[in-house]
C-alpha cells in the first residue's frame, strides 16, 4: 500500500472521529469482514474469484439536523500477479490490494425549510421497485465487477434534495461529472458484449479499442434526475426523469486491419451516448401478495457505427445502431407462506446492458428462500432464471441459469454461504455465452 492510500485511510477513519470527539457528538463504526472464493466447475477447478474485503462504515451525528456517513472497502482481490522475479518485490503484485470509497456524504435535514433534506457527497441513489433489477435506476453507474450481484452500483459524487409532505415527495438529483460503469473481469467481460459478425471468409485475430470519455464540462458530463412519488389507491407510485449518459460504452467506429488474411484485427472506438429516460414504478399488494412493476423509456442520442474494412478489401459502411426509443420493464410478486418459505418471481424485458428496441430480451427469474432451525439455516434451492431471445425459435435462442445456495448462521453476525452457478443455452443469448462459466462459491462474512 502506498503512502497516499495510508493517508486516505487515516483521514477516513480518524479525522471525523477527532472532530466529533471534540464536539462530544455521537459516532459509530461498523462493518464486516468478508471472504469470497469462486471455483470453476471444470476438471482443473480453477479459482476464478478471490476477494478478501474489509468493509468499514462510519456514521456520525453532528446534531439532530446533520449526519455524516461513509463506507469504505479495503480489499485484496485476485491472485498474485507475478511474472518475473522483480515482481516479487512489488507488494501490489504479490498481494493485490485496492481501496474503494463506496459512499461518503453529509445529510442536512430541514434545510432552510421543514421537510427539505439535502445529501451532499458520494452517494448511492437507488430508484425503482423491482428486486435488484431496476430499469429506472440510472443515476449511479453499474458496478458489474461481480456479475451475479445485479443490484450493485458505484456511488456518485453529487447533490440530492428531497422534499416530502404527507404521502407526496419530490427528489432532485444533480451529479456534475460522469463516471463510467465498472465491467466484469475475466471470462465474464465478453458476456455483455454482442457477438461480432465478420464478413464471410475472415477470422478474428485480435480486438482492441479506445474509449472517449465525455468532456468534463457540465454540459457534457452532468446528470440530472427528478422523481415525484405519491400514494395512489394504497399503491406507492413514482414518476421519474433522468438526463444523463449510458454508463456502458457503445462503439461508433470499427476498423478492420489485415493480420495475415484471412485473419483480421479489429480496432474500435467507443463512447457513452447521451439519453433521456422517463420512468415509472409502483409497489403494493393484491390479496396479501406483494406486487411491483417498473418501467423506463429510453430516448438515446443517435449512434451511427462506421465500419471501415477498406484495409481488407471491403468498404466503409455506416449503420445506425441506436436511434429509436426503447422500453425496459420488470414486473414481479413475492409471497411468504406460513411455513416460512418465501418466493419471489420477476419477469424482465431488457437486461441492464441491452439497448435498442430490437435487442431487448426476456427473462423469467425465480427466487425461493426457506429458513430453518430458527433462521440458522437458509436454503435457496430454486434460484435461477430463463432467458428467451426469440419466442418463435425458443430452442435456438434460450439460456437457463440455476444458482442454488445454502446459508448458515451459526452465531449472530456470522454467515457462511455455499452455492453454485450453472448455465446452459445458445450462444445468441447473454447467459448462453457464459455457459462455460459454471462455478461454485464459498462466502464467509462476519459483521461488527
Amino acid at each position: 500500500m502506498d503512502a497516499g492510500k495510508l493517508i486516505f485511510i487515516i483521514c477516513f477513519l480518524y479525522l471525523p472521529l477527532s472532530f466529533l470527539t471534540a464536539q462530544e457528538e455521537k459516532v459509530g463504526i461498523s462493518g464486516g469482514l468478508q471472504t469470497e472464493d469462486h471455483f470453476s466447475l471444470t476438471e482443473d477447478v480453477n479459482n476464478t474469484w478471490h476477494e478478501y474485503r474489509l468493509d468499514l462504515k462510519l456514521k456520525a451525528a453532528f446534531s439532530d439536523k446533520a449526519e455524516f456517513f461513509s463506507e469504505c472497502w479495503i480489499r485484496t482481490w485476485g491472485l498474485p500477479n507475478v511474472l518475473e522475479s522483480a515482481d516479487l518485490t512489488d507488494r501490489d503484485k504479490v498481494v493485490s490490494m485496492n481501496i474503494a470509497l463506496r459512499e461518503a456524504y453529509v445529510d442536512i435535514y430541514d434545510f432552510f425549510i421543514d421537510h427539505l433534506n439535502i445529501r451532499i457527497g458520494r452517494q448511492r441513489i437507488a430508484w425503482g421497485t423491482g428486486d435488484k433489477l431496476n430499469p429506472t435506476d440510472n443515476l449511479n453507474p453499474y458496478d458489474l465487477e461481480n456479475i451475479w450481484d445485479f443490484g450493485r452500483h458505484l456511488g456518485s459524487d453529487g447533490i440530492k434534495a428531497y422534499y416530502y409532505l404527507d404521502d407526496f415527495s419530490i427528489t432532485l438529483v444533480y451529479i456534475p461529472l460522469f463516471t463510467p460503469a465498472l465491467l466484469p473481469k475475466g471470462s465474464w467481460a465478453d458476456v455483455l458484449s454482442p457477438p461480432i459478425d465478420l464478413p464471410a471468409g475472415l477470422t478474428l485475430n485480435n480486438m482492441s479499442d479506445s474509449i472517449t470519455l465525455p468532456q468534463t464540462s457540465l454540459l457534457d458530463s452532468a446528470t440530472i434526475g427528478v422523481k415525484i412519488a405519491f400514494l395512489l389507491f394504497d399503491f406507492d407510485v413514482s414518476l421519474s426523469y433522468v438526463y444523463g449518459r449510458d454508463s456502458l460504452p457503445i462503439a461508433d467506429k470499427s476498423t478492420l486491419i489485415a493480420a495475415g488474411l484471412p485473419a483480421v484485427n479489429i480496432a474500435s472506438e467507443l463512447f457513452y451516448p447521451r439519453e433521456h429516460i422517463v420512468g415509472a414504478d409502483l409497489a403494493g399488494e393484491l390479496f396479501s401478495v406483494g406486487v411491483w412493476a417498473e418501467g423506463a423509456v429510453f430516448f438515446p442520442e443517435k449512434v451511427t457505427l462506421t465500419t471501415d474494412s477498406t484495409a481488407v478489401g471491403g468498404s466503409i459502411q455506416k449503420d445506425t445502431v441506436l436511434k429509436e426509443p426503447y422500453f425496459k420493464y420488470v414486473v414481479g410478486f413475492d409471497y411468504t407462506f406460513n411455513n416460512g418459505i418465501y418466493i419471489n418471481v420477476q419477469y424482465l424485458h431488457g437486461f441492464l446492458h441491452e439497448r435498442g428496441p430490437e435487442n431487448l430480451h426476456d427473462y423469467f427469474l425465480l427466487g425461493m428462500d426457506w429458513k430453518l432451525f430458527d433462521g440458522k439455516i437458509k436454503l435457496s434451492p430454486l434460484a435461477g432464471g430463463v432467458e428467451i431471445d426469440d419466442f418463435t425459435d425458443i430452442a435456438g435462442n434460450y439460456a437457463v441459469f440455476y444458482s442454488p445456495q445454502i446459508s448458515l448462521y451459526p452465531i449472530d453476525n456470522a454467515e457462511i454461504t455455499i452455492g453454485c452457478i450453472m448455465i446452459d443455452g445458445t450462444d445468441s443469448t447473454t447467459f448462453g455465452r457464459a455457459k462455460n462459466n459454471d462455478e461454485f462459491y464459498l462466502r464467509m462474512k462476519y459483521s461488527f
Binding site: Y162, D412, S447
Partner: protein
C-alpha cells in the same frame, strides 16, 4: 399491537363504571388505556430463548405515535443493525435494508412470519385497536380479571383464529394473551410482568411470548421509556427509515 401498546395504561382513577360492562365495552376501554399516550419512545431488548436454553439478543429502538404508526429500528446485532420497519394505517408497511440502500414496500403476507427471528410476528408488532379488528365475547370473570375472547371481524386478515385476553378489572390492563392458530389450537401465550408506573402510565416492562408449537420463547424487556415527548410526524415517513 399485541405486545407493546398493552404495556401502558394511564393511572387515573375511577375508570371502572358501576355494573358489569359488556365485552365490547371492556375491549374499548382497554384500547383507550393502552393507546392513551400520544406517543411512545423506548428501547427494547429482545431475548430469544431456544429449546435447549441457548439465548440470543436483539436490541431495537421503537417509536409510536397514536395507535397506528410504528417505527422500529434494529440497533444490534451488527448484521441486522440499521434495518428499519415502518407500520402505517391500512396495513401499509415498509422496510429499509441498508445493504440495498432502498426502502421497500412489504405486503401483508409477512404478517404471519417471524419478526427478526423472534416468536413475535409482524402482525404481533402492528399498531392496533382491538375493538376495531375483533369481535369480543366475555367468557368469564375471574378474581382480578375479565377473560375475553376476540375473533377477527369479517374481512380482517389475521393469522389467529381467536385471542383470549385476561384484562385486569381495576385498570383494564391486559396481562395475558392466548393466541390460537387458524385450526383453533393454542399456538402462543404471552404474559407480562414487572408492571410499574412511569410518568403516569402503567408499564409492563417485561413480556414473554411462549411458542407452544416450537417449544421456545422470546422475552421483550423495555428500557429508556419516554411518553408524550412530542415525536414528530416526520419520524413516521419513508424518508426517516433510511436515516
Amino acid at each position: 399491537m399485541l405486545f407493546i401498546l398493552v404495556m401502558f395504561i394511564p393511572a387515573y382513577q375511577g375508570f371502572c363504571q358501576a355494573g358489569s360492562p359488556t365485552a365490547t365495552q371492556i375491549v374499548e376501554k382497554m384500547d383507550r388505556v393502552i393507546n392513551a399516550p400520544k406517543d411512545q419512545d423506548f428501547t427494547v431488548k429482545l431475548i430469544l430463548i431456544e429449546k435447549n436454553g441457548d439465548t440470543r439478543e436483539r436490541i431495537m429502538s421503537m417509536k409510536q405515535k397514536g395507535s397506528d404508526k410504528r417505527y422500529v429500528k434494529f440497533l444490534s446485532p451488527a448484521d441486522q443493525r440499521g434495518i428499519a420497519f415502518l407500520s402505517l394505517p391500512n396495513d401499509v408497511m415498509y422496510i429499509y435494508l441498508p445493504a440495498y440502500a432502498k426502502v421497500r414496500r412489504i405486503a401483508s403476507h409477512v404478517k404471519n412470519t417471524s419478526f427478526a427471528g423472534t416468536d413475535f410476528t409482524y402482525e404481533d408488532m402492528e399498531a392496533i385497536n382491538f375493538s376495531q379488528k375483533y369481535d369480543a365475547q366475555l367468557l368469564r370473570k375471574e378474581d382480578n380479571s375479565y377473560v375475553v375472547q376476540l375473533t377477527p371481524k369479517a374481512g380482517i386478515r389475521s393469522d389467529y383464529s381467536k385471542l383470549i385476553i385476561w384484562i385486569r378489572t381495576d385498570i383494564f390492563f391486559p396481562i395475558k394473551i392466548e393466541m390460537y392458530d387458524r385450526g383453533g389450537k393454542l399456538y402462543k401465550v404471552m404474559t407480562r410482568s414487572d408492571i410499574e408506573k412511569v410518568d403516569g402510565y402503567w408499564v409492563a416492562k417485561t413480556s414473554e411470548m411462549k411458542n407452544l408449537k416450537a417449544g421456545k420463547s422470546s422475552k421483550m424487556i423495555m428500557q429508556n421509556i419516554k411518553f408524550d415527548s412530542g415525536l414528530s410526524d416526520s419520524i413516521f415517513t419513508k424518508q426517516y427509515l433510511s436515516r
